[in-house]
Amino acid sequence: MSSQKKKTNSFSRMFRRIFLGSKRELSILEEEQMQSPFRTVVRNFRQNKIAMIGSIVFLLIFLSCFILPIFYPLDVTYQDVSQQNVAPGFTMTSVPSALKNNAAQISGGATFGVGIDKDGNYYSWGQMDKKLLNVPENMGKLVQISAGLNHVLALNDRGEVFTWGYDRLGLSRVPMDLSGMVDVKQILAGYQISFAVSEDGELYWWGNENIIDVSPGDHQGHIEKIAANSTTVIALLDDGTVAALSSKETLFSKIPEEIQGNVVDVASTDNTAAALTKDGKVYVWGSDDYGQKLVPEDAQGKIKSISAGRYHYTAILEDGSVIAWGRDNFGQTKVPVVTNAAQISNGYYQNYIITEDGKVQTSGLSGYLMGTDGFGRDIFTRLIAGGRMTMTIGAISVIISVIIGVIIGGFSGYYGGKVDNILMRLAEIVASIPFLPFAMILSVIVGNSLTEIQRIAVIMVILGVLSWPSLARLVRAQILAEREKEFVTAAKAMGIKEWSIIFKHILPNVITVVIVDTTLAFASCMLIESSLSFLGFGVVEPTPTWGNMLNGSQASTVIQNYWWRWVFPSLALSLSTISINLIGDGLRDAIDPRSNDR
């Protein structure tokens, strides 16, 4: 059978030589004369298609995990409830084309946008759940629209207010007055709460009042316009002053005195409020993160109107151009260049600029490549940062285990006798400790009082220190076979130190076995780290690894509704372990062609 195989091989070789004219194939004997063993290994490996596919896949994953984080840096502490469990896709700023040239008003919610055209028709786009898509019928001609966290308010030309989307916490209870009894001049959908301001300056509100403190007090009847965030309502009154409509003193009620009486417009992000005065200047107050108070100096005095997203401001200047400042984590402060902006509205992280001829230009967050997790964090950036962490832990623990394994295996194999006995008993003791439970216990006991980095280091050491015995045995067996050979005797006769005989003369002869074992151990270390982190005993939140990104995803709601939360980390982890194992197998076959038969 084997001779037959050889014949077909030589036929195919001849065929190749004739038609492809490739380089001359060598017989095994010639090959050994011509090529170093290393080159033979490389050639064998490169001929193994599966192993090459594995290498390419692993290389791609490796490069993405180590290069992409430079371009997509991870803010470990970032969380945003308004962005939680967003499905993958880039639809958040996809304004329908019918609206794009004919827009009257647009309003952005947390992950979606709604708009009305000049004929009062309703449009929507972005990530919307079933309730948001359940739009009331026969609303007539809409004149105003407002999107909140997850609900929408609309006002038609008969003065009726409609609401849909999230309907708990009293959001569905629109006050009776608003069904055409009073003239409404502004509607505003906030964070689980809805507001309406009537023509005679009365504020109406309904929804979840537990997190927001609304008490207009004696400002009722004088309100011109309101701006709201998740904690406070800021009102522009009819005498040109600004008031925070809260019962208690907050950062939002520390309004700069010098602007009172001159204000023409107000806006509010989640932690600051801003007012525009008659002379075109913007004043921002509140607790400032992300540079929201840094209004561009050269624009001061020329600002016509302002609007706010979740953590950024946009403003229209007198010449019709648009500027933006504040937080820029999703590129929301980069605005398109326009010269005839008529109005701006902002989603949480988006800007919608409507020009004077009704055209719409958008910028800002359009969506997430792989969706977001339960804390509103982008899965893609966590996936690449987590991959880097998982691979680093795997690599360092493998290096630790290889160093221990080679040294112990080397001494044990070379010296034999008592040394061998003691070292191998040690290996057996370590091997008899059940791996995962013991690693869990150690991480609980040792890891309790440590910082994140120390904890990660401890996990690497635990993995490394527990996984060396198999490699030590392997090295020992190899060295047992090598140490009787002539070159060792020669080295001894030359009086070379024993340390140097073991590690400089013998070890290079068995290094191939070590490399194969290291590759396979790398995959298993990654698996163990992931299992530990998955169970909550490895690297803990908020530092991502592929294991702890899957933590908690066995819950049926996650598996069913938020598939992107578990599919992507699982896929990344599986693909890399599979490709590493394929590389390991390929390497073994390349080094020892006899094992092909196995």
Partner: protein, 328 residues
Amino acid sequence: MAKYILRRLLYLVFVFFIVSIIMFFIYKSVPGDPARMMIDSSKQSVDPERYEQMYQAAREQLGLDKPLPIQYISWITNMLKGDLGFSTQYRQPVSQIVGVPMGNTIMLNLVSMVLVFLITIPLGIVTAVKKNSPLDNAVQVGTVVGYSLPSFVIALLFIFLFANLLPIFPISGMNAPGLTGDGFNVFLDRMYHMALPCLVMTFASLGGITRYVRAAMIDVLRQDYIRTARAKGLREKVVIYSHAFRNALIPIVTVLTGWLVSVFGGSVVIETIFLWNGIGKVLYDALMQRDFMVVLAMQMFYVIITLAGNLLMDLAYMLVDPRVKLGN
């Protein structure tokens, strides 16, 4: 032979004591004072002096007032007598806690083990006999994928497929809530809940064992006596199943005994995901609740079964293969 077993047993005892010392000192380095935890509930109700007295009494009762080596000796003697300590989480002796979970774990693992061998042995034989055939290559790639996948990824996938997409099995748990009925109904319901974790466990171990069986079989098929059997004109079936497979069984037996550890030890990951009240889940809960007496007892239990498994493996090897001479 007897001498060999004796030597192995002596060695086993030696290793056991070494590991137990390591474990004991790791346990001792746990932050927190078990004596305080024991009387924690009465901290508010009694005055400080009385509390201090209670604390000292508790220390004495737990033997914490003695030096460490004496504590170790008393702990290990109690342990060997079967007194595994007292769980702070359940307020029961540890030995009473692990009984039921042990039964659950053994049940789950035995069923999946039978399934695994029913699938992997024929598959391994076929792929070994038809080496390098398309089937073999496909199975080879499949097994690499199989043993590369972490068990929790397989579990997530199977939950998605068989509990969400096709709602055949319950997602997790041991019994339907509020189940009433006779013993047989309860048993059927238990089996129904066991199906998914069992499938996951089976699937997770298919890859490795198929490869192992295949390698063992290929080794045997290369032997001279197989050529002899073929030369005699025996039918291929007889050659493979009677001559080859019986010899290939030898390394497989060692895998089987190696499985003993997981049969009793359970799988922390799978039992935690499926909320299967087994040994692995007990360990997980104990770690989560910082119930270290349970953890320590479990750890010693794991060590014992690993060591016993190793011994059993050697003995089984010797029994099934007369060529193997141990102890030389």
